[in-house]
């Protein structure tokens, strides 16, 4: 446990100190709602390598409300003419204390037509620790141009260690300009919705 907290803090410190704010990057507002939490998340990206932010959430697992200070760090990116591949580290430390935290990795590979992604997250709250993993794949039914309304048809399989089975469900993702909306539904995890505004 101690090592994990040190790892999280260490990576957070690395992200903040080793990269000066040399680029006035984007800010993002996100709303997320699923069977585990309802949350509101703001993050700022000083560079494309990392973002820092605050997530305020209603934790449905432990029945409490608190905030996370969050860091997402780009471990690796590969750009090609037709694709982009990413691997990220993510972490968060709760305002209630260091013992309430999460960390994990997520990655994706994307072309204009196809998307494949995965993620793993360990959540520790001293009451009901759990891990969450998912895979997601999608296809764009048409290729929109810059500024058009974009649509993705996706499939997501998600497993939470508190649940007995995988939750498999379709996800629809739409975005235009700076706004993105994504929602899916399964019998196991019910609605999984995600709203995002970038500015």
């Amino acid at each position: 446990m101690g090592i994990r907290v040190i790892l999280i803090i260490g990576l957070a410190s690395f992200g903040l100190d080793a990269r000066p704010i040399s680029y006035s990057g984007g800010s993002t507002l996100m709303g997320h709602s699923n069977n585990m939490k309802d949350s509101f998340y703001y993050h700022y990206s000083p560079s494309y390598k990392y973002s820092i932010g605050i997530e305020s959430l209603d934790d449905k697992v432990i029945g409490d409300s608190y905030s996370y200070t969050r860091l997402t760090y780009l471990i690796n990116r590969k750009n090609t003419e037709l694709s982009q591949r990413n691997l990220y580290f993510q972490s968060g430390i709760s305002t209630t204390g260091l013992n309430n935290n999460f960390y994990g990795v997520h990655g994706d590979w994307e072309t204009r037509r196809f998307f494949v992604g995965f993620g793993f997250k360990q959540v520790e709250n001293q009451i009901n620790d759990y891990e969450e993993k998912y895979i997601q794949m999608g296809i764009a039914p048409y290729l929109g141009e810059y500024g058009d309304f974009h649509t993705w048809l996706m499939f997501k399989a998600k497993k939470n260690s508190l649940d007995k089975e995988w939750s498999n469900y379709p996800v629809l993702k739409f975005f235009k300009g700076n706004v993105l909306i994504e929602f899916g539904y399964s019998d196991v995890s019910e609605w999984d919705t995600h709203l995002m505004y970038r500015f």
């Binding site: 040399s22 680029y23 990057g25 984007g26 560079s47 494309y48 780009l74 990116r77 750009n79 090609t80 003419e81 037709l82 694709s83 982009q84 994307e110 072309t111 204009r112 037509r113 999608g138 296809i139 764009a140 039914p141 048409y142 290729l143 929109g144 141009e145 810059y146 500024g147 058009d148 974009h150 048809l153 499939f155 498999n168 379709p170 975005f175 235009k176 300009g177 700076n178 993105l180 970038r198």
Partner: protein, 134 residues
């Protein structure tokens, strides 16, 4: 499992239908985008390029080949960054060809290293550039 297979089949069908329309080609003989620069044909979407040129006079356009620009969101930061540059008269993104179009005044010197740096800061890579003078 049957549900999953149904979803996958539906996705594949949609993709096949959409893919057939991707093979349409344009013919715009005589337009400026048909010019050759350093022996290379301009690889830009003709309609998009023509729209971009509307209202531009005494300008030069840098056509930058960018890797990793796979979605609208990826390109937003590029547009935002170049719009802050006072030397830039106009900017557009051609997602289908992976190009960024940047218009400058004719008397401006276009610095490819500066363009590369701005694009890297956004998380993509600029590979090469062609310049068209209007």
């Amino acid at each position: 499992m049957r549900k999953i297979l149904t979803i996958l089949l539906a996705l594949i069908s949609l993709w096949s239908a959409a893919n057939s329309s991707d093979t349409d080609h344009h013919s715009h003989e005589g337009h400026i985008h048909e010019k050759m620069i350093d022996g290379k044909k301009l690889a830009v979407d003709p309609d998009r390029f023509d729209k971009f040129l509307v209202g531009l006079e005494d300008a030069q356009v840098a056509i930058v080949n960018v890797q990793g620009m796979v979605c609208d969101f990826c390109a937003r930061g590029i547009e935002k960054t170049f719009k802050k540059d006072e030397k830039v008269k106009k900017i557009d993104v051609d997602l289908s060809k992976g190009k960024v179009l940047i218009a400058y005044s004719l008397n401006e010197e276009i610095d490819f290293n500066d363009i590369k740096e701005k694009i890297v800061m956004n998380g993509q890579n600029a590979i090469d550039m062609q310049v068209v003078s209007l």
